[in-house]
Amino acid sequence: MMLQGGIILLFSLAYIGFLFAIAYYSDKRSDAGRSVISNPYIYALSLAVYCTAWTFYGSVGRAASTGIGFMPIYLGPTLMVALWYLVMRKIIRISKINRITSIADFISSRYGKSSSLAGLVTIIAVVGIIPYISLQLDGVSTSFDVMWQHSELAGAIPPPGTAAILGDTSFYVALLLATFAIIFGTRHLDTTERHEGLVAAIAFESVIKLVAFLVVGVYVTFILFNGFGDIFGQAFQKPELRDLFTMKNAGTYTDWTWLMFLSMMAIMFLPRQFQMTVVENVNENHLDKASWLLPLYLLVINIFVLPIALGGLLLFPSGAVDADTFVLTIPISQGQEEVAMLAFIGGLSAATGMVIVATVSLSTMVSNELVMPLLLHFGPLRLSERRDLGGVLLTIRRCTIILVLMLGYCYFRLTGNAYTLVSIGLISFAAVAQFAPAIFGGIYWKTGNHLGAIVGLSAGFVVWTYTLFLPSLAESGYLSPSFIESGPFGITLLKPYALFGLAGLSPITHSLFWSMLVNAGGYMILSLVGQQSLMEHSQAAQFVDVYKRTQENDFRLWRSTSSVTVLRSILEQFLSRIRVDEALNDYAKKHGLDWSKDDVADAALINYAERLLAGSVGSASARVLLASAVKEEPVSMDEVMYMLDETSKVIAYSRELEIKSKELEQATSELRAANEQLKEVDRLKDDFISTVTHELRTPLTSIRAFSEILHDNPDLDVEQRSKFMAIILKENERLTRLINNVLDLSKIESGKMEWHLTAVDLKEVIEDALATLEQVIKEENIELETALAEHVSLTVTDRDRITQVMLNLLSNAIKFCDSQAGWIMVQLKEQDYTLSVAVSDNGPGIKPENQEIIFEKFRQVGDTLTEKPQGTGLGLPICRQIITYFGGDLRVNSIPGHGATFFFTLPVVSPTEAEADKEPNYASPIFANGKTNNR
């Protein structure tokens, strides 16, 4: 008989012994520098630690009641792995740079190397994984019992976990697994916390469980039955099995989707997955091949789940055999002891793989993130002064492994057989899904902060505990069932499976919804509201921008110096002397230092030591350890700037540079324009001066000529003399006028003109001007027509200047109107708060092309050769300057041969309208132009 107790035990021990041999061998190879695990295939196989007793035994059980309802747990990872190329690559890169040792280390490191956050994550991980560990104990001890009893009716065995502890198989299984994990995972401390032997053993286990499951599958499908078609055909004959062919029993589509999401998170954030994928990763590029090898592995190991489940249901129609044990009970019932033995070993490998890796990663977390920081913080222990802390660390880890397994065992005893394997596992999945917001936020969102992570994680964890963990204990009878039925103290709104009345979801989906809501919500809101410390800020930048990192980008978070001797002694507390020497010599070689001469440890070296230490005790502990030895000086603002991420600095610089260069460009073009303008003004000035001199010379010449005549001919007759004198006087007047005009213009243009502002009645001004010129008009026989409005509003302006304008326009009209039948018309109107004055004549008119030129200085229209200039050429330009100054407009309308009309406008501002002034939507053009009357 093969399946005797002794033989089973012998096989188990032989198998475990073989695993040790593999681990030992690969450790030796690794020490010799020829790693056996450094290839993507071993890496992918080690990731298959995802498949545990849950997969090996539980999937069949799940399939037997839900059809393809077991699949989301494997489809989720398949899809998630497709995103690994982006997400996991980043996590691995970050972890390698920061020497991350566990998922707790990762999260705490991102949020400012916070000890409290590391502790929280560790607690969540430990509590969350306990159900999962108990699942493995359940699976293994059940399989032991099934094999042991060698019974076709596994149901006849007393359920595990009900016997006295010392007679309970699962207790011994727990002890065995603990021993196993201790020997494997805590043999020595390393700077990187990598375990080559462990990885090799896990990869081997993945092969064994796959082969074992396939053997059972092939046996059931092709030997016991005649292929897939036969099994499904027979099952189709049974109406009670037909529903398994559809989605009917597979849960609602909502549950299905949430389960996929859940397993997506699990494949990344289960501590053992993180350990295998990130911490034990040898080469980032192995991820490429592993991203399709792992899904392929999952697919292959699941091909025979449905045939085995349906085969089992066909073979044991009574339901007397637990479907979770079909993988064993089918071969046993058919007397296939070899197949059963292989299946048993397969199940054992699946369970041991999970337990070893999970406990090793949990023990790393507990020792590095929970116990060490606590011990270091409590001064009285003076732990940081002890030598050889490595031994203490290892002891803590070993105790943790035993503790975790015992907690798993207790949970197993407490819940008993209330759950199937899969539903226990899902509780753990929901716990680790809580890490998702903090991690995804941490690597893609710089704003995510420590407070947000703490609050989000705690809230999510509390909700998880309340809606899943506590009820799982209640269902087994250790809490009152009324807790689930009617809520605590009968408060129905707080029913753990229907919180706030949210009913109709499966417990897992329900818990996941609420916990994710408070977790992600709390994380985001507090991150948006709160602030980051300096350390957090730089860590956030380092995590999010990990790909932009340059060599110089090592943060100088230690602003202090210490001695190399002190650093060496701290390092030697945890690492072997040889390893410390090696590391320090490496550093010296790289930086051209000589330790026999240099004993000053600068910030970069302390940083190096911190990362070295972080590799074995985690970043939070490493920081505390070094801080106790290195007296840090306060960080100055200059230093803060220095600490800022190099890349973000560069980005900021280049952005600034871009802005500066744009500004420069703009300034250049403005300067160029200003220069052009200056050149133009200079040219105009030259023109002006030459024109002015020319204009001055004309009257001067005639004055000089007539003066000479008078001087040289004292005997000229009186009549002649007085005629010449009159010419001299007239030319003198013209000269004076010209000079006055030039002065006026230059005053106006340079803004030095003095304006005497008063309220002016334009009608009066016009009438005064007409009175002045009345004599001339009469002499010239000019017909004067006026059309002045009766009453016009006052305008604030300089009365003398406006009179000057008026006189100028009228003189021009007199000068240019028809010499035979002269006609002039003056109009005054008020419309829309604007006064307009028009002076028309019936002269030759102005050609359209000249209508603007006449307002330019010294530009007189007409043939200068045949006609004597009739003015200074400055009158109209001065008029326009004056009118423009008062917010008005001076223009001309003319059709050649039909006279010309000069007209100007002035805005109305009269004291009577002072109130209207105050209204915001009305402002006089004068004020609107900023030309106020206080000048």
């Binding site: 989301p72 899809l79 497709a82 995103l83 982006l86 078609g229 062919f245």
Partner: protein, 65 residues
């Protein structure tokens, strides 16, 4: 666009295709008692979609090596 970006984008597309294939409503189309080659059509759909996703990933990732 560099190799890293384009592979990343293709894999994201595969992820989205997978989410579509393995969810309501496409899944519900195959939730019938029909058989193909003696195998329930839902099983065939689920496993072949799964395989297709893996093959797509192999093509995208290995094509560059």
């Amino acid at each position: 666009m560099n190799r890293f970006t384009i592979i990343g984008q293709r894999l994201v597309a595969i992820f989205l295709i997978g989410c579509l294939l393995f969810n309501y409503p496409l899944l519900s189309i195959f939730s019938t008692n029909d058989m193909l080659w003696g195998i329930p059509i839902l099983y065939i759909y689920a496993f072949s979609s799964w395989l297709i996703i893996i093959i797509l990933m192999i093509i995208v990732i290995e094509m560059w090596h």
